[in-house]
Symmetry: C2
Subunit: 341 residues, 2 copies
């Protein structure tokens, strides 16, 4: 943005941050009248002429929310997007959807696109390959608020909407134990996502609570994809000491496992119990139907949209940010019901 | 857009169309020099001052493509979007995704959002509830080109990318006949979509070619959804004279049928054969796996993006528009293999 070069210059001369200059030019309530006067005076002296697009867009809201998800084909995300749209359209906002394809570079490009004021705010679930989150902080500094859902960033201070991944995984593992499994493997998600770490911890703690061993070779990491679920199932079933249950960190992984187990000739749940996480609608259609941990994905999208609209429509930054933790729900189907089989 | 009021006034006084004025102001090669001079002269006299956003956006491309699909959760569309992104990002364009949820009103709002120059062009697959397509024509008149894919509009002259729906349906029906089915029902899509009508016609012609009767009660119309597929399966299996095969106009419909048939106690393909259309990746995971007609969805998205970029990057309208018809491919799995069962 050409205008930000000049904002940068004003900021440098006054010894304040760019975002302070930007907010002062927008007459934000967060900036003192004294600072606003100093900024406006210097802007006049320097003959500061903001980019007409930038200026107009600063004054006129776009009434558009951006949303970035890793993969729109994942029904968990498409349902959450439905929740965002539900709130946004009812309040006169458009929704533009972007997908990162789990790529840091793509996520960066999408954020930069939104940074040119194409949206009033951003809802995001981060890519599994993003280890740096500076691009989100920079977007906030440009005055565009962000709300995270599901896959959140610890590096960014803002509202977040998650589910209790720890409790969901704990309950799932405990259910497998109660149904009689003793050698329970876990296919975990990428370790740089908090959802993956929390689900793994829930699994570990449930094993410990019930006096079962935690064994390194029974925990393998995977992308949240069907094809990698299949590969990891091959790896686990090839072990000299095979597991008698697999708890997959997502239903997409579990779908790949389900396919692999059938190809390999195993009966579910007699030979091996299977449990997923997310409860996609397709999971009930598999044979045997897949047990899973349901997440209120539509509601997560709704709450993220409500929190974002609050940030957009209030003139000031809130005193504190909140992280809403929604409840998961165990959905038991045939794939894990060893006791009655 | 406030600026278009003035363009309208210039158009009225000169007795030309708004799009002629708009193109003259943009110095388009489609407008004669004489007309451009008349438009510019009157614009000066009327002290015409275009909206700065509109002006800037006319000069500076946004390097953004918009895409509207009925439902991102439908893997056919999410895969096609992947194809659009593949071409667009490699050529330095962003992709913004919108979903119409099969609603005419939502599609209209999305098109109006793009009309305010948020994208340089639009790729669209129309909503099943859209009977009027004026909003697309108006978008073109604003100088924003459109390319249709899969669900196209006969009312709009532009490039289109489709598959040979007629041939795909003909082949599917003929396959069911060759496997021994004689009472073949068809669950068709909404009749106002050309894809639905072409698939229905392929089904009819295959029956006729093989001397089988076409019976009204064996053809029912459905939305392209799993839940309605279930309802229509109930309706067909309740008939006094039951079908021995069902050809569903999409895999999503077929998934609902698959579920219903299992609930009702039928064996596939022994009691009834089943065939879908689209070959979603999930179809191979069902038990029995679902036969289907594969569409090259990723390639459809790629070709639509290439055609749109051609329209955006050339200064003039092409001499003629093309409709690319891609081939379908029969994928035979257990749900339709009566002969070996």
């Amino acid at each position: 943005m050409p205008a930000s070069v000049t904002i940068k210059e004003i900021a440098r001369q006054l010894g304040v941050s760019k975002s302070t200059v930007s907010r002062a030019l927008r007459d934000s309530s967060e900036i003192s009248q004294e600072t606003k006067d100093r900024v406006l005076e210097l802007a006049r002296q320097l003959n500061y002429s903001p980019n007409p697009i930038a200026l107009s867009l600063l004054n006129n809201r776009t009434h558009t929310l951006g949303i970035i998800v890793p993969e729109i084909a994942n029904p968990f995300f498409s349902t959450a997007i439905g929740g965002v749209e539900d709130i946004a359209y009812s309040r006169g906002y458009h929704v533009m959807i972007y997908q990162s394809h789990e790529s840091y570079e793509r996520e960066l490009i999408d954020v930069q696109h939104i940074a040119t004021r194409r949206a009033d705010g951003l809802i995001v679930s981060v890519s599994s390959q993003s280890e740096k989150h500076d691009h989100f902080v920079e977007l906030q500094e440009k005055g565009i608020p962000i709300v995270f859902f599901d896959r959140v960033s610890d590096a960014v201070q803002t509202h977040k909407v998650i589910v209790d991944d720890y409790k969901g995984a704990y309950d799932a593992t405990e259910h497998l134990i109660k149904e009689g499994s003793r050698r329970i493997a876990h296919i975990a998600g990428p370790p740089n996502l908090s959802i993956s770490r929390n689900r793994l911890q829930g699994y570990r703690d449930a094993l410990q609570k019930h006096g079962l061993p935690f064994r390194d070779e029974w925990v393998v990491a995977s992308e949240y994809s069907q094809s990698e679920g299949t590969e990891r199932a091959y790896q686990l079933m090839a072990l000299r000491e095979r597991p008698d249950a697999i708890f997959a960190a997502s239903d997409r992984i579990a779908m790949g496992v389900h396919w692999a187990l059938r190809q390999l000739g195993y009966r579910m749940p007699e030979d091996i119990a299977l449990m997923g996480f997310s409860d996609l609608s397709i999971s009930a259609l598999l044979d045997p139907p897949l047990s899973s941990v349901a997440q209120p994905s539509f509601e997560m999208g709704q709450q993220a949209a409500e929190l974002l609209l609050e940030l957009i429509e209030s003139k000031s930054t809130p005193a504190s940010f909140e992280t809403r933790v929604l409840k998961t729900n165990l959905v038991i189907r045939r794939s894990s019901m060893k006791n009655i089989s």
